[in-house]
Symmetry: C2
Subunit: 380 residues, 2 copies
């Protein structure tokens, strides 16, 4: 990319960010809410581009206060001041000294708020009581609101789709670089380390979740943690990996085999792949999420492994690696163009192992675009 | 370690775990609470040894339900069943299918609870409303409780102190292995990657927080994120790193210089080290946390850099890398033997950089034991 192209991209981003804020403000106006306090870290990044991470929910690196008109505010402490001012040019950066509460109370007063919304799905109970007290003192009506920003995040813009595609492609490049180096002399941890190392060396911010490398019996646990066991030849090795690039996540699973796959391995592998292809065909705008899940599940069940596919088929991906929509048996929501989902059927057999295959797709006006190019799994 | 020694250690751990549960149950009895629901992940690990991590607070890998007498329960989903049963032999593992709520309601009924406490400092507002509804339906009094387990965690047992010492020593070994390889050809990210890689190669579960490697102006931000800038010779390079070993954290900061330090660097370095030594001398049972902070701060202020030391002097470390007690200007709590704290004064000058030095210490009956052996920083 040339400098001009990058500048253009930054400019697009700024405009886009302002559009997001305008959308939020329009919703606040419609619901007669004077301001909303954003505490969910992915929402904070999505709206402000502030890329600081939280140590955990009890140690936030900052909050957004978005009034229903005018300049939005980013509230943080002195440690993040420089970063916030550099990254959030559309926001007024305000620094709190002894925690959020004093500054927030002053702002509520100076902004003359009558109603304040907060993200009840990402706000600690104890903090909410504190916020209630502040609002009571100032005669402000406090409104718990859930998933306002998450609902916007579901619909990806062209720029976001482009960033997600890049994230997926970089993730594949990492996999392809490490795949030929994997041998039976490696432990699961060795492989996970090489993958995460390559992610950062090749330009990712880091992994989007703790890389899963699980061989033989360990692969029977969908959320296996890489162990110090050596990789078992002949049976599947599950590699579930993702990275963050420019704030956007990727997520991919490959199941590979060292040496000659056993007949059981080949059989299960083919069922999982067939389930995946069937689900991909089912994806189109208007289709219910649970119907896509059912498409894959019916193949696995018809082959007698229904009880061995215990998780949902997939999930949305964006600034968070797990977000809406959920492709699960109980999700009655409709897919829409611009959504991004994983398609990851799996079969897990305790004591033996498991196979999972995962690609990412963007829902288009007439079906879906698979973001992945990697076909390594077809080796089997 | 021989197998017998390891078995002995495991046995000790099991006994210790039961002691912790007994302590919690005694407190419940004293407060006439029938059971407590534990949601805070570090508390969960501390009480149960269940080592699964949460993706975030919205995606918990499990909860503990501790009745005031009898067997404690671990509630999780099928993905963690195998791990939970292997790791938590003192607990009865119960699997929920569609989230926590259904199983919890059934258990509340079958345990005949009249009062249930929950961790209000680590429970989402929206979840708390759901829990309230369940309790209302079952005529159970719901009690918000804060930091019950955290208060236990502050006092480390001999076994815990031993594990923390090991974590600190391994962290130092990682630093000492990578330190001689650092050159002006490296970017901050290069060094951070090599450190985190060495942590895992040498046996750590992983870093206890995102490693900070900050050179020159970037070092002026106490929470700097490693960048693609090359390391600046002559001025300090701050390396703040920690790892997790057997569930226990370490945390250490070294400020090093490539090439000849400038006079400004040497001057600031000496002030910070003097502040650290003064604070260490101030540590003893009965001393107020804020007085230890003040001991370091007065040295930095006396040298004219009071405004450049914007954070607290230190914090507790254990199963979490940040825990009680806080060594800050407003903490009026008293130190007690068995507490573990960091001592990490720093001076940060925007545009120039910063120096921070951090060791870990255990409070003893007559002072403190510094866990660190590394003296690399005395090179300057």
């Amino acid at each position: 990319m040339t400098c001009n192209e990058i500048n253009e991209q930054v400019l697009k981003f700024l405009i886009l960010d302002m559009c997001k804020i305008k959308t939020i403000q329009a919703r606040l106006q419609r619901r007669k809410i004077d301001a909303i306090l954003i505490s969910q870290p992915d929402n904070r990044f999505y709206l402000s581009s502030f890329s600081a991470r939280d140590y955990d929910i009890s140690e936030s690196s900052g909050y957004l206060l978005i009034p229903r008109s005018g300049t939005p505010l980013l509230l943080t402490d002195f440690r993040y001041q420089e970063q916030a001012e550099r990254e959030c040019s559309n926001f007024e950066v305000m620094i709190y000294k002894n925690g959020l509460w004093g500054l927030l109370a002053r702002l509520c007063k100076s902004l003359n708020l009558c109603t304040l919304a907060f993200e009840s799905h990402y706000f600690l109970y104890e903090q909410a009581l504190r916020l209630k007290n502040i609002c009571q003192d100032l005669h402000i009506a406090l409104l718990p609101i859930s998933n306002l920003v998450e609902k916007l995040r579901v619909n990806k813009s062209h720029l976001e789709l482009d960033l997600i595609r890049r994230s997926v492609r970089l993730n594949e490049r990492v996999f392809q670089e490490i795949y030929p180096t994997i041998s039976a002399a490696d432990t699961e941890i060795d492989v996970a380390l090489r993958l995460e190392n390559a992610m950062r060396t090749l330009g990712a911010t880091g992994p989007s979740f703790a890389t899963i490398v699980a061989s033989g019996p360990n692969a029977a646990m969908p959320h296996a943690v890489p162990s110090r066991h050596k990789i078992v030849p002949g049976v599947p090795l599950i590699i579930d990996m993702g990275l963050v690039l420019a704030g956007y996540c990727s997520d991919m699973t490959r199941s590979i085999v060292l040496g000659t796959p056993t007949p059981q391995t080949v059989n299960i592998f083919r069922i999982v792949r067939q389930a995946q292809l069937t689900a991909i065909k089912a994806i189109s705008p208007g289709t219910l999420c649970k119907d896509v899940d059912a498409a894959a599940r019916s193949i696995i069940s018809a082959n007698g492994f229904g009880a061995n596919f215990g998780h949902s088929l997939g999930h949305g991906v964006g600034v968070a690696v797990h977000e809406e929509p959920r492709l699960g048996p109980r999700c009655a929501k409709k897919l829409r163009a611009g959504m991004v989902v994983t398609i990851e059927p799996g079969i897990y057999i305790p004591g033996w192992g498991g196979v999972r295959l995962e690609n990412m797709a963007g829902v288009t006006v007439d079906g879906c675009e698979i973001f992945n190019n990697d076909k390594t799994f077809l080796d089997i």
